[in-house]
Structures are given as C-alpha cells and as structure tokens.
Symmetry: C2
C-alpha cells in the first residue's frame, strides 16, 4: 500500500496527545480538565435559536446561508471582526484585512501552508499549545523553544534565537497563554512587534482567550504595535461565541492575506455560511455585551475554584500560575511525579476518573521537560465538579510518591 | 519579509483560475456558467428552517450543536452516509469507515496531507478538476495525465503509466466527470479497483455528482469493487443538499481513515456541528427522496437546454460531450479559438457578460492543451438565462475568427 507522507511520521507524537485530549472530553464519566471548552451554561442556545429562525425566514438570507460564498468569509462577520473586535483594541485595519476561518486553529494551518517549507524554523514559547505543535509537526517545521517566565516570552532570548536560527516564523499566544495562563507584558509586546519588523520575520499572534478577563488591565495585542505588516493576528469565536460553530478569523496585510486566501480556497473553499451569518447577527443585534459579562462572571468563579483547589489538594512543593483570564492553569508538581504515566490511572481508576493534559506534550524541547507538569482547564467544569475532581486527583498525587520509584532525569 | 513557502509558487497558476471562477460567480450582472453550484430554486430553505427550529429547541441538541464535537463527525450524519448514501451503492462499510468533512474538497486536501510528499506523482484524468489540481500543486505533487475518452480514463494507459511513473496516488472522478460530464464505464471501474490493488497504490475516487442522474443506468462506485482497501471514496453534500453548508464525507479503511482523522484534527479540529445535525435530520426525517426527485427534474431541463444551445449557437466544428447527469458540459471549439483570451471579453463586454471556465486550466500537461475548450456549468442558471447567455456567447464566438489571428500550436 502507498506509504504515508513523511509529515505523518513527524506529527505522530503530538497527534497522540490530541487524540487523548479529545477522547477524555467525550467520556461522560470522566471529570475532564483536559479540553479548552467554555462552560456549557454559557452557550447562547436560546439567542441562536431566535436568530436562526429570523435568518432563514428573511428574504434572500436563507438562500445565502445555503449557497457557495466568498473565500474570505461573509462580509457582515468580517465587519463585526473589524468594528467590534479588532479596531477597539488599537489595531488599524479594513475589512480587506480580515478573513473568516473554520475555527481559530485553521490560522496555524494556513500560515504554515503559506510560509513553512520542511525544515523551516518556528520560534515558540516554552511551553506552547500542543495542537499548534501538531500542526507545525505536520508541516515538518522545526520548533525552537524560547525561554518563558511569568511575563511571557523572554525578549532577549527571542532576539538571540532569531540571530542564531534565522527562523521563518515566530509563534506567540500573548494573553492567558495556552497552556500556562500567563500574559505577555506590555513592553514585551512592543518589543516582539519591533523584533519582527527589525529582523523581517512574520510573527503569528494567536489570541483566542484575551476577551475572557477576570482581573487586571487589558493590554493591546502585539498587532497594535505592528507598523510594517509583519504581525498576523489570529483569533477565534470558540471562546466568546460557540466552539461547535468552528469560526475564527485572522488579520493580516494585503500581501499575506491574499496568499492565505489561496491556501484557504485549496483547503475547504470557504467556511460554512449559516454559522457565519448567525454569529454576525449575534454581534450586530447587540447580544454580545450581556453574553460577555456573563461569560466572564461564570468563568471567574471557576478560575477561583480551581486555584483554591490546587492550593488545597495538591502535594507540597506544587507551583502554579495565577492567570488573570482565559481557561487554563498550569501546575508544576514535585519532580518525581510523571504526569504522562499518571494520566492512565487518573482517567481509568474508578476512584479517580479525572482527566488533565500531561505537561510533556507542550514542550518542543523534548528530553522529558514538563514531565512533572499538567495543564488544568477549568472552563467546562462546574465549580462543585472542579472541587470533586481536584480532591480526587490530589489524593492520587499524594499517594504517588510511595508507589512509584521512577525519577525524572534532570 | 519572510518568504512564502515553495508550495505557494507551484500553485500560483491554478489558484488564479480558481479566483477567476469564484469572482465570476459573485458578479450579479454576469450570466455565469463557471461555478459548479446547483439551482438556487432547489435549496431546501423551508425544510432547513423547520429542522433548525426543532433542533435548537430539543433537549440537549442545541447544546450539542454549539459544543466541540468529534473529529470524525456527528454520529447521526455518519450513519446517514453509511445507510442512505454508500451501502445502497454496493459498498460494504461501518460508521467507523465514514468521516464527515468540511466540504468535498477537503478530501483532496487531507489525502494529500496523508500521502503526498513533494515530488510524488499523482495520476489524473485528462482533463481533470482544476480545484483538485490547485490542491495537488499546493502539495507540490507532480500530476501525470492519463488518456481519457468518452468512457473515461483509458485503463491500458493507466497501467502503462503506473509502471512508468510509480505513482503515489491515482485520482478519478468517475461519474459525470468534472469538467467533461463523462462517466467511467463499468468494466473500467472494475479494472481501476483491480489495478490499485495489484500495484498497491491508493486510488482517490471523487464522486460528488453521481446522484444527479438524468438518464442511463446507475453504476456502482469504484469503491464497490475494492476488496483490499486501496480505494478511498470522497463525496459531497454540496450537490444533493447545500453547497454553503460545506459538508462532505469520505469512506476509507481503518488504517487510512485514522491518519486522515489526524490530518483533519490538525486542519480545523472538526466540521461545524449545526450544519451536520441539520443535514442528518434532513435525511433521517425522509426529506431527501422528494428533494432528490425535484433536483434531478430541474437540472435535467437545464442540461437539455444547455446541450441544445451549444448545438444551436456555437460555431461549426464545435464538439461537445453528452452528460447523463451532473452539472457540466465540455465544449471543444475550432482550434483557432483561444478560450483563455476570450474570457476577458466574454465577462466584461457589456453586450456579452457571460462567464465560463477556460479549458486550459483543467489540463495538467500544459503546452496549451485545452486552449480551445471550455467547461459550461448549467446547474445555477435558469433555462431562459442559459439560452440568453449561450446566444450571446455564441455570437461572440462566431465573430472571433475574423478578429483574432492567434493560432494554437498543436
């Protein structure tokens, strides 16, 4: 039988992480801190029901919803992106700079289609989003990790690695980062845009969590400091509207967005039309403001519950991040705990049945880095279930040391 | 600025054809025989309106529609694929062999992700679908054309080219082919499956038009003759349900479909959920039968009108195909007519304003092959507009010889 392409081998490891992650999300018996979904209670089912009725009855709109549409996306939704979502954050753009995608993840795929040849270097945070790693692996890119601290990616190390590796692309999740929840500081945002421009390298800013903020001051996206068109900003409607609709968008200058449109056309022609129209109407009819307030209120409680539960139930020596928003906390456990090994027991032991994402998959460096870490998502789990799940997981962790002799080589 | 990837150069020519094609579809002043859309009158707007209301009100279904879902697709729709669409055609399969896609075109993309390394050979029909060529170009495959006649791809030439080129994949549109409308004969279908098996090469069968048949006897897909899992069958809901929903599916054995699911996950996670549920309900509630009858009746008239108009208005020496179904006719004009050059005048001259797709883009051989041909789609144009547009186009063609001195080198 025809052999698989080389890219399928390079993505094998990260693809396995993703399969596990989605598998755990779909098992109803497991309390899952693994996926990045928002609270089910926040899905605007009623509003979308009403909007859809209206759309399908309106002259011409029902036909539009079912017909082929533009590669760049439905104009109404591109207008929403410009006027409601991007321009208020300090980014100058017109609708010609905005393209609708089939989910935020498609941005990574299309950017690789357009820029990445096998062997090209992408500079990434350490750790970074495992699903993006999977995509970069599929395109046979070589990811190089840049040092990251509590203020996000270290700009000195970024510049050093630009000089050393001559990268094709830089990839940043600046706000409530996936997996750590950390936010890139203002001065580093400016510096990142400046470095992209100075060294003439495209920077992909992936910013899907930024609008779910619980405290602290909103920061402009890196794209707001981009004066030369080197930054491409990717975002998603999955967190602020609905993940199942598979809607995202990206913002780029004309030269880049035209190429991205060619790649999009050769991937799936265009994004499904009805979800685009529904989403546009959701914003244009003014439903977003109240929805957004509710979204932040609900998830803030879950974040607080999760942080408290880590402090309460996890073993001594655990360190965790303090996210100001988004859906993720990152826990660094005592060195001897191997979260990859533990995951099987955590998800299958009838006394536990709790899922998280093991830390190792978020590091592109390999060598066991992050093996004592885990990403804990609190978005999709009600507070009482967060406490229950974390208590069970904590208990498992507390008994871990006495049962395993395995020690991570440093 | 970061250079574009090599694949963006290899797809430049075919991407330009696609941009023109979609551009012409969206200009309301142009009578467009370019896109492959079905009749607007056949879009099931009313039924989908009712179904959507019901779905969004039903306990749990509204939440499902807006939540993350499985990479392989919504189970209800996969069941429809198996029981309503594929098994009745003689293909043995279970739901585990069926994956839902974001439009039929995604099958070509994912198959390339899984199988094609740069430089790999894909054997294709001559001519073949320009949008698939765009995708194969993006993956830097080398397309080799196999001789094609009024019964489809020539199997002797296919076998000879398998031996000569050691291809990675074979690509066939067996029924009412795009762009010619030609159907692969029964014996050749069997032979194609046998050759795939014998030479151990994956065969991608792209079959989106098969259910819109106006006359003649239905033939089993190539997949029905596949006993070794070498054939992957791709299909679309764009012609039998709605193009704007961007829904398609593919059928493959377990080894291949698991890899395709990894590639799908790294492309857009999964297909939008609400359109999948609506489409599943459309079939499960029994709406398809009447819709299908109407679809065939409406398009049969358009096909007949188009064939009659070619015979009536096109210059002497024109040859055309006689499709038994689907959406396309292929016209071969006198040698001195250059359809690529003519297209600019046809779409912009206020006396004409008619679009078609120039033949050249459907040939992977290059060298001006097909320069005197055009693909004429009759699906989206009402009969009176077909007559009007073809009369205008015919008039332009009749005057062509006296105005241009350009002659195609043979």
């Amino acid at each position: 039988m025809s052999k698989f392409a080389k890219r399928m081998h390079s993505m094998e490891k990260s693809a396995a992480v993703i399969r596990n992650l989605f598998g755990a999300m779909n098992d109803p018996e497991v309390i899952s801190f693994s996926g990045g979904a928002i609270a089910q209670e926040c899905l605007p089912v009623e509003i979308i029901h009403e909007l859809t009725q209206d759309i399908m009855q309106r002259e011409g709109r029902g036909v539009e919803a079912l017909s082929y549409g533009p590669v760049m996306g439905v104009k109404d939704l591109r207008e929403v992106v410009v006027s409601d979502l991007v321009r208020p954050k300090g980014v100058k753009l017109s609708v010609d700079n905005a393209m609708i995608l089939s989910g935020g993840l498609e941005a990574m795929n299309l950017m690789c289609q357009v820029f990445i040849d096998p062997g090209d270097i992408i500079l990434v945070e350490s750790p970074t989003f495992v699903h993006s790693i999977e995509i970069f692996d599929m395109f046979q890119a070589r990811c190089i990790a840049v040092e990251t601290d509590e203020n996000g990616m270290n700009m000195e190390d970024l510049e050093a690695k630009i000089k050393k590796y001559n990268p094709k692309m830089m990839y940043l999740i600046p706000t409530f980062q996936n997996p750590t929840g950390i936010t890139l500081s203002l001065d580093r945002r400016k510096k990142a845009a400046q470095l992209a421009s100075e060294y003439d390298i495209v920077l992909l800013e992936d910013d899907p969590y930024r609008d779910i903020r619980y405290n602290g001051v909103e920061l402009p996206p890196v794209k707001a400091f981009d004066t030369t068109g080197h930054v491409v900003m990717a975002n998603s409607f999955s967190k602020i509207f609905s993940p199942g609709s598979r809607l995202g968008y990206l913002v780029a200058n004309e030269r880049i967005i035209n190429k991205l449109a060619d790649a999009k056309s050769a991937t799936n022609s265009h994004t499904s039309i009805l979800p685009q129209i529904i989403c546009a109407e959701f914003f244009k009819k003014g439903h977003y403001q109240e929805h957004h307030r509710n979204l932040c209120a609900v998830h803030r409680i879950r974040r607080d519950t999760m942080l408290d539960a880590i402090d309460r139930y996890f073993p001594e020596g655990t360190r965790r991040t303090q996210p100001d928003g988004g859906l993720f906390t990152w826990a660094e456990l005592p060195k001897n705990i191997n979260t990859t090994e533990l995951l099987v027991e955590a998800t299958t032991n009838p006394e536990v049945k709790v899922a998280y994402v093991a830390g190792e998959g978020f590091f592109t460096e390999g060598g066991g880095k992050g093996r004592n870490c885990m990403r804990l998502s609190f978005g999709a789990v009600p507070p009482e279930k967060i406490r229950e799940g974390m208590a069970k997981l904590g208990k498992l962790l507390q008994t871990y040391e006495s049962r395993y002799s395995f020690t991570v080589s440093s």
